[in-house]
């Protein structure tokens, strides 16, 4: 399969804790082509970041442990590489951006030195050459007066500026793949768009493939070519971005999409949510992990559905027994959802009273 830059097959990452094994990533497979932009979406704790760290082989071990699967990058399995070869890949071929730019820059080093570091490690540049390249990188990520700012320390930058620096560090050696782990979560909403534009622009320019990890569907919508939806350590649906937004086929994706608040919604109408919380991944029960929260659930869901291609659409895969487009199923699910919400409201009396007040106001 020379077609793909990175191909993850059946990756399993477990954490050994006192209570047993936490199956943080449990049989994840996806692939990314050179220059492609892939979004990985899911709730907190569904294994997105652990997948990223498993690719980089930077899990804290112990307690983390890659229990199986393979991560093929340019044809070689990263999980088999010795540490020294892996170090060449990190920063050289795969760059990574973290969530919080406030904590992922070293406070005692100038940003110039931090950007230059990757260059000096991988390209063996001299200090001067590294500084020169660092200046041009800073300019590329849109930091004004780069030649002066190069000697500043991280605390002299704002959050958005720091994230630009982090991007410059990750892209310093012109990697083939950039893993961005929630790159905008810690930022101001106005800055978020700028940073996404920047990642998008710079990566298109360099031809870098991007894995964008986020829990925000709005973030992936405008920027990615394809989306992988994860739930409880498993891939539940994957499709091209346009297809996924128009034609979601997994109840979880459906739930995610309908829980995005819209500007054109009726005021005071209740926000749709996915009831319940993600399951505990320590010794999970067999079957579909989403079953306890799923309005479409039925007896067959006690066995895990395989991730299968939709008939007629090679790019669209889902792991669900139910056809969510069937109107009969939809009506049934809607009824179950209503009764569930009523039960919940009845259980919390105070809450019920307040929602009544809202209803009267309407």
């Amino acid at each position: 399969m020379g077609e793909y830059l990175l191909e993850i097959q059946d990756l399993k990452t477990y954490f050994k804790v006192r209570a047993g094994k936490v199956r943080a990533v449990d049989g994840v497979s996806f692939a990314i082509k050179p220059g492609e932009k892939l979004g990985v979406v899911g709730e907190s704790g569904c294994g997105k970041s652990v997948t990223a760290l498993s690719i980089m082989r930077l899990l804290p071990q112990p307690p983390g442990e890659i229990a199986g699967g393979s991560v093929l990058f340019e044809g070689q399995d990263l999980l088999d590489l010795p540490e020294s070869a892996m170090r060449k890949i990190r920063g050289g071929k795969i760059g990574m951006i973290f969530q919080d730019p406030m904590t992922c820059l070293n406070p005692t080093m100038t940003v110039g030195n931090q950007i230059g570091e990757a260059l000096r490690i991988h390209l063996k540049l001299s200090k001067n050459e590294a500084q020169k390249r660092a200046i041009s990188l800073l300019e590329q990520v849109g930091i004004p007066a780069a030649s002066e700012r190069i000697n500043s320390y991280p605390h002299q930058f704002s959050g958005g500026m720091r994230q630009r620096v982090v991007i410059a560090i990750a892209l310093a050696c012109n990697p083939k793949l950039l893993i961005a782990d929630e790159p905008t979560t810690a930022l101001d909403v106005t800055v978020q768009a700028q940073i996404l534009d920047l990642i998008n622009g710079v990566c298109s320019e360099f031809g870098t493939a991007v894995i964008l990890i986020t829990h925000d569907l709005g973030v992936v919508a405008g920027m990615t070519d394809r989306i992988v939806v994860m739930y409880a350590g498993k891939v539940v649906e994957t499709a091209t971005t346009d297809e996924l937004f128009v034609n979601p086929r997994h109840p979880y994706t459906l739930g995610l999409l309908s829980s995005v608040p819209r500007v054109d919604e009726v005021r005071h109408s209740q926000l749709r949510t996915i009831e319940g919380a993600p399951p505990d991944l320590t010794n999970p029960p067999p079957g579909c992990p989403f079953m306890p929260r799923c309005a479409f659930a039925r007896a067959i869901c006690r066995t895990m559905p395989p991730l299968e291609v939709l008939p007629g659409q090679a790019d669209h895969l889902k792991a669900c027994w139910v056809d969510v487009t069937d109107p009969k199923e939809q009506a049934y699910a809607e009824k179950r959802r209503q009764t569930r919400i009523e039960k919940m409201l009845a259980a919390t009396n105070g809450h019920a009273a307040s929602s009544q007040a809202v209803a009267e106001e309407k």
């Binding site: 930077l58 920063g91 760059g95 990574m96 919080d100 992922c104 820059l105 570091e117 990757a118």
Partner: protein
């Protein structure tokens, strides 16, 4: 300055305009560097400044004083009875001891020995302690266990007893041997401190981030983590000088340290002790010097602790 020139240039149309305000130094808002902020904070601590001034003066006197005070500290004047145990006078400002050696000259010579022994043994101990502590903290697990149990063993041994025993057999009374002996026992606190710092630093996200660009263990340890632990290490080092000076004095006092006739403060006290009733100067001068020097190092150490602590509120 560029801006002011540009703005002035746009006004060359001949109309009378208010001249653009020059960017005088008072108007240029300059960002203080991190070192400057720390230095300013240190300057506000009066006690620490007092200690620092005393130490600077002491260093100048000890090293440059002998250029002007040309009496040999080891010259014995047995022929002249009047010159023995003399009270302070013009020829001997701090008097002389029982064999007629000039106390001022000896105090300066002893200061050189005590200060350099204190500083050098601190340096050795810190280098050793930082090495051990960073390996233990960074690698954790078995490495940590072995190194820290080794540290505990050293800490558990009664220090003075072992110093005396070892100095009797291993040192030859030169400052160098005393430095090494003190350093062998001085590194333990530094090692524990650095280990603790490294344990917390290695979990920081920027360490993970520099792993993602392919940094090796040594780079992570000494370029990324060590500078972040510099504050506590500097404070510990400063306090350690004081401790080492005391150790050196105690050893010399009991005759295990610097070998006579070379002067050292501890040895001067032990000589003057028997004559205290006759000539208290022989004890008071070196005693005061030890006291003031150690106190000053402690005050400076405390001042640095406050100045280097980033959580200190800006006063």
């Amino acid at each position: 300055m560029d801006i002011s020139e540009q703005l002035n240039a746009t006004n060359v149309t001949g109309e009378e305009v208010e001249p653009f305000l020059e960017l005088t130094p008072a108007l240029v808002q300059k960002r203080r560097s991190q070192a400057r902020i720390i230095f300013d904070r240190f300057l506000r601590n009066r006690a620490a400044i007092g200690g620092a001034v005393f130490l600077i003066l002491l260093f100048i006197f000890c090293w440059f004083g002998p250029l002007f005070w040309r009496i040999d500290p080891n010259v014995i004047d047995v022929t002249n009875v009047a010159a023995q145990q003399a009270p302070p006078s013009l020829t001997h400002p701090l008097g002389t001891d029982d064999v007629g050696r000039d106390t001022l000259a000896r105090a300066l010579a002893g200061g050189r020995v005590s200060l350099s022994v204190g500083l050098l043994s601190m340096l050795l101990a810190i280098i050793f302690g930082v090495g051990i502590g960073s390996f233990a903290g960074y690698y954790g697990g078995a490495v940590d266990n072995i190194l820290m149990r080794f540290t505990d063993v050293i800490l558990a041994v009664p220090l003075y007893l072992l110093l005396f025993v070892l100095s009797a057999s291993f040192t030859d009374g030169t400052p160098k041997s005393v430095v090494i002996l003190i350093a062998i026992f001085g590194w333990t606190y530094a090692a524990r401190l650095v280990r603790g710092e490294f344990l917390s630093l290695k979990e920081r996200e920027y360490i993970l981030a520099s792993r993602t660009i392919g940094a090796k263990n040594f780079r992570l340890m000494f370029r990324h983590m060590l500078p972040n632990a510099a504050g506590p290490i500097i404070v510990n080092a400063t306090l350690l000088i004081g401790v080492n000076i005391i150790l050196e004095s105690v050893m010399s006092y009991f005759g295990f340290g610097i070998k006579p006739p070379d002067a050292s403060w501890g040895y001067m006290i032990s000589v003057g002790q028997g004559l205290f009733a006759v000539d208290p100067w022989l004890v008071l001068v070196p005693g005061f010097l030890i006291f003031a020097t150690v106190l000053s190092f402690n005050l400076v150490g405390d001042g640095l602790r406050d100045a280097l602590d980033p959580h200190m509120t800006e006063r």
